[in-house]
């Protein structure tokens, strides 16, 4: 039944870039999450025009489309449902530097770290550096509004994207934002960033060039107790220092990662904190000393400053490969990425350990402590009967504990498919309805990555004719009744 669709796509792209092989569709049925879906035809466009051709072909055949980059998403955002046309951007890897405007235009398939390497000789980099940066694509970074350790000081992807050329779900082309200081209209660019593939497909992205800092210092502080480490994180911020990054790893994850990288992490520490300060040399020297002082005052056993670039890279390698290393403990993991107010970090962390204990699960914590972004990894062996239920129950409790502390559901991984049900915990129905309207402005027919992000029933119905009584009820309960 895909025959004509394949034929049309083959004619627009080329036959070797339109795949309809069953086993391959199975491979594209998943990303880095636990979710599994069902891919239809898989195509690999090279240009904006080819992406448009794909979207239009899908439109003619009444097929939904799902954009996909490297497939490193952790929330099932790229998992295809009901055999959509999968538009894979990995072959779109063009890079054009525009030094005059201090931006670089990239195609969506460019790998985050490749871009930074490309820019290095020019003295610039792309600031968002998610832990998957060696693999994840810029298109994926835009879709998820990716963060990474360094977004503590530099901001997430949204702050670095200046303009996006987008193929809209109806096949039309639009440039959202622009290189000019104040593009006309509302900030559609900002709406698109983080839209998880639900508002169209980015085909060219202009991102800001961030100058490489003249000086950088990376510190590793080790603590006997995770509580001391968490207190140190708060104390650093309270001391008026905003480092480029503050990361924390507990003992279990430190041990797993150390077995891979051999970075010299103290494996007997209850928790380690990795801090990076950067900028001009004076500030770096000042902040390095300040961070060291604060950590020692909070009970650090030692504070080590990376002696050279090689040591610095090694310290970071350990942090950035942490998720992948969990299979050294158990073959599967399920994680949330809630953010809690920095001052509640310690409290929520304690609850996370208690929740895992209650469900007889192993939890490993590695996270962006500086901005309160938790990544509790519940590790398990899916072959053990009944364990998934325990994992999910514990996951929900972690989400509740985070939200009750005044936090949010996701700091950087997005909602995708996996976290969708929890949206209703954080938002009222009018909140969700407003988000649904934003999506509808781009994709009125729900063709692009359908059934993601917003849970079913997010739309409130005809609010335009809301009477006073129902308005009062909605205001009082937050739920449409």
């Amino acid at each position: 039944m895909d025959g004509t669709l394949v034929a049309e796509l083959s004619a627009s792209l080329s036959p070797d870039r339109v795949h309809n092989d069953h086993l391959e569709q199975v491979l594209y049925g998943r990303d880095a999450s636990l979710m599994r879906g069902d891919a239809g035809v898989v195509c690999f466009p090279l240009t904006t025009a080819e992406v448009q051709a794909c979207v239009r072909a899908a439109l003619r055949h009444d097929r939904a489309i799902v954009p996909r980059g490297s497939g490193t998403g952790l929330a099932g955002g790229a998992v295809p449902l009901e055999q959509p046309l999968l538009i894979v951007t990995t072959k779109m890897t063009g890079i054009e530097v525009d030094l005059d405007n201090r931006v670089v235009w990239v195609q969506p398939g460019v790998i985050n770290l490749d871009l930074t390497r490309h820019l290095k000789p020019l003295g610039f980099h792309f600031a968002p550096d998610p832990s998957s940066q060696q693999s994840c694509s810029l298109g994926g970074n835009v879709a998820n509004n990716s963060g990474g350790p360094h977004c503590l000081a530099y901001g997430v992807t949204s702050a670095h994207v200046v303009a996006i050329e987008v193929v809209l779900p109806n096949g039309e082309l639009a440039v959202l934002g622009g290189l000019g200081a104040d593009p006309a209209g509302v900030d559609l660019r900002g709406a698109f960033v983080g839209s998880e593939g639900c508002m169209g497909i980015a085909t060219r992205i202009a991102v800001r060039l961030t100058p490489n800092p003249p000086a950088v210092a990376t510190l590793l502080a080790d603590f006997v107790e995770p509580a001391q480490a968490a207190a140190a994180v708060s104390a650093i911020i309270a001391a008026g220092v905003v480092p480029a990054a503050i990361e924390m790893m507990d003992q279990r994850i430190t041990q797993a990662v150390e077995a891979f990288v051999g970075a010299g992490y103290p494996t007997d520490a209850g928790a380690i904190v990795l801090v990076e300060v950067d900028g001009l040399p004076g500030g770096v020297a000042f902040e390095t000393e300040k961070v060291r002082e604060v950590c020692m005052a909070q009970g650090a056993r030692s504070v080590r400053v990376a002696a050279d670039e090689a040591e610095r890279m090694l310290l970071w390698k350990g942090r950035k490969t942490a998720f992948g290393a969990v299979a050294r403990v158990k073959p599967n993991y399920y994680l949330h990425d809630t953010v809690v107010p920095r001052t509640k970090l310690l409290d929520v962390l304690r609850q996370v350990y208690a929740i895992a204990d209650r469900h007889d699960l192993i939890v490993m914590n590695v996270f962006h402590a500086g901005d309160g972004n938790l990544h509790p990894l519940l590790v398990f062996d899916a072959r053990e009967p009944g364990i998934l239920d325990r994992v999910h129950a514990a996951g929900e409790e972690i989400v509740r504990a985070s939200l009750e502390a005044g936090g949010v559901l996701s700091g950087e991984h997005g909602i995708g498919l996996e976290k969708q049900p929890f949206m209703a915990l954080q938002f009222t129905q009018p909140d969700l309805d407003a988000q649904a309207r934003l999506r509808d402005a781009f994709d009125p027919d729900g063709r692009c990555n359908p059934a993601k992000v917003l849970p079913a029933g997010s739309r409130c119905g005809d609010l335009a004719h809301l009477d006073a009584h129902h308005r009062e009820r909605l205001l009082a309960d937050g739920v449409w009744v």
């Binding site: 795949h19 092989d21 069953h22 086993l23 391959e24 199975v26 491979l27 594209y28 998943r30 990303d31 880095a32 690999f44 490297s70 497939g71 490193t72 894979v88 990995t90 072959k91 890897t93 398939g109 790998i111 770290l113 490749d114 390497r117 998957s132 060696q134 693999s135 994840c136 990662v257 077995a259 891979f260 490969t321 942490a322 998720f323 992948g324 290393a325 969990v326 299979a327 050294r328 073959p331 599967n332 993991y333 062996d381 072959r383």
Partner: protein, 394 residues
């Protein structure tokens, strides 16, 4: 189809995708089917799920270079090489996966004398211009005469080492062995060569990669028997070294595991004996040398840094910026998958060009042939070392 793999090894992949950019075939295609994560998932689908081991599956397995770059990149330590070998073994045992002529070809590698004679015959035909050498992955000029190898005379009572001479390398690149003998001799160490007519030919690496476990075991066993005693066995081919260091896994015997502990890559050994080498002679080379790491030295043996330690005192080295991505040679791969191998090599050539080096050092015969076929000047690090020491002519 059940594949002869260890299920816990298969379960150890969490699909994080950190391997993707470290896979040469994913790098040039951007397709999941040509990535380690995709291949593992395909193996899972065939082994655990009910997917047939169809042509698509075979293609996914066949296009893997077995460079094992994914292994060094994998935080979970997934033993990808084992999984891939098991998949190919399963295909061999349960399907008509390897055609008869390839099976015969792998077996022939063990018959060393026949190989040397055959190579000479091919060299003659090559001079006639009738052989499309580059397409077949052959060196431009196969040697007509293979010089006899003569270990240096050293003081009696000196320590002894073995030098593994292998199959194709001994036939085509015996001058590398000659350089190795000269360098080892210069440290005052005696070298024993294996008895090569009936003894050590192919170590079985190519058959292992092809999943021909029976052939591989027989060849490995014969090779092991050619090195009696306890003297270290030095290997100047990265692929062979990787194979010989892992015989415990292949043969499953204590004897094999013990043998593997005696195996050293020649650069590892030289790096430990640098103080015994004389100073370099003549003016230092003015060109800088790009070090190309053979995958089986970098990702499998993880001994690539010793090449730098050995060369750095004598030559100006430059590093490539591609994080040790495979050059596309992959044993017989460049012949079997010429298109992918070519695309992968192009990436390597670009990286070499960016480095500004005009000379490439590569410690594996397959890589040097593959790169030389693209017009590069490639020498074995041991050759560069021997020249710098004035032991052989440059």
């Amino acid at each position: 189809m059940k594949l002869p793999l260890v299920e816990d090894e298969l379960a150890s992949c969490v699909s994080c995708g950190l391997c993707l950019p470290h896979c040469p075939t994913f790098r040039v295609t951007g397709e999941e089917r040509y990535s380690p994560r995709g291949r593992i998932e395909a193996i899972r689908q065939v082994h655990v799920g009910n997917q047939p081991a169809d042509a698509s599956f075979v293609d996914m397995m066949d296009t893997c270079l077995q460079c094992r770059g994914c292994e060094t990149a994998c935080p979970s330590g997934v033993p990808f090489g084992h999984l891939m070998e098991a998949a190919r073994q399963g295909l061999n045992e349960q399907t008509r996966y390897q055609p008869w002529y390839r099976r015969v070809g792998y077996r022939t590698l063990a018959y060393h004398r026949a190989l040397v004679i055959g190579s000479r015959a091919l060299a003659l035909v090559q001079r006639s211009g009738l052989v499309p050498s580059r397409r077949l992955g052959l060196p431009d000029r196969l040697p007509l005469r293979v010089p006899a190898l003569r270990p240096q005379t050293v003081a009696s009572g000196a320590a002894r080492v073995w030098l593994h001479t292998g199959c194709v390398m001994d036939a085509w690149q015996r001058d590398v062995h000659a350089a190795a003998l000269a360098v080892i001799g210069a440290t005052g160490t005696a070298v024993t060569l294996p008895e090569r007519i009936h003894g050590a030919g192919c170590c079985g690496a190519l058959a292992t990669h092809a999943g021909l476990v029976g052939v591989a075991r027989a060849q490995a066993e014969a090779t092991m028997r050619s090195f009696p005693g306890e003297d270290p066995v030095l290997v100047d081919s990265a692929g062979c070294g990787a194979q010989l260091k892992d015989l415990g896994h292949l043969l499953g015997t204590d004897e094999a595991s013990h043998f593997s502990t005696r195996v050293r890559d020649i650069h590892e050994w030289i790096a430990e004996h640098l103080d015994r080498l004389p100073d370099g002679v003549g003016p230092r080379r003015t060109v800088s040398v790009a070090v190309q790491d053979p995958c089986h030295l970098r990702h499998v043996q993880r001994a690539h840094l010793s090449v730098r330690r050995v060369l750095a005192p004598y030559l100006d080295l430059v590093e490539l910026d591609d994080e040790g991505l495979c050059c596309g040679a992959g044993g017989a791969y460049s012949v079997l998958q010429p298109e992918l191998a070519g695309d992968i090599r192009t990436r390597k050539l670009e990286s070499i060009a960016r480095s500004g080096a005009t000379l490439v050092a590569s410690a594996n015969p397959g890589c040097s042939l593959h790169l030389a076929a693209a017009g590069l000047t490639v020498r074995h690090p041991v050759q560069l070392l021997a020249e710098a020491l004035g032991l052989v002519d440059g």
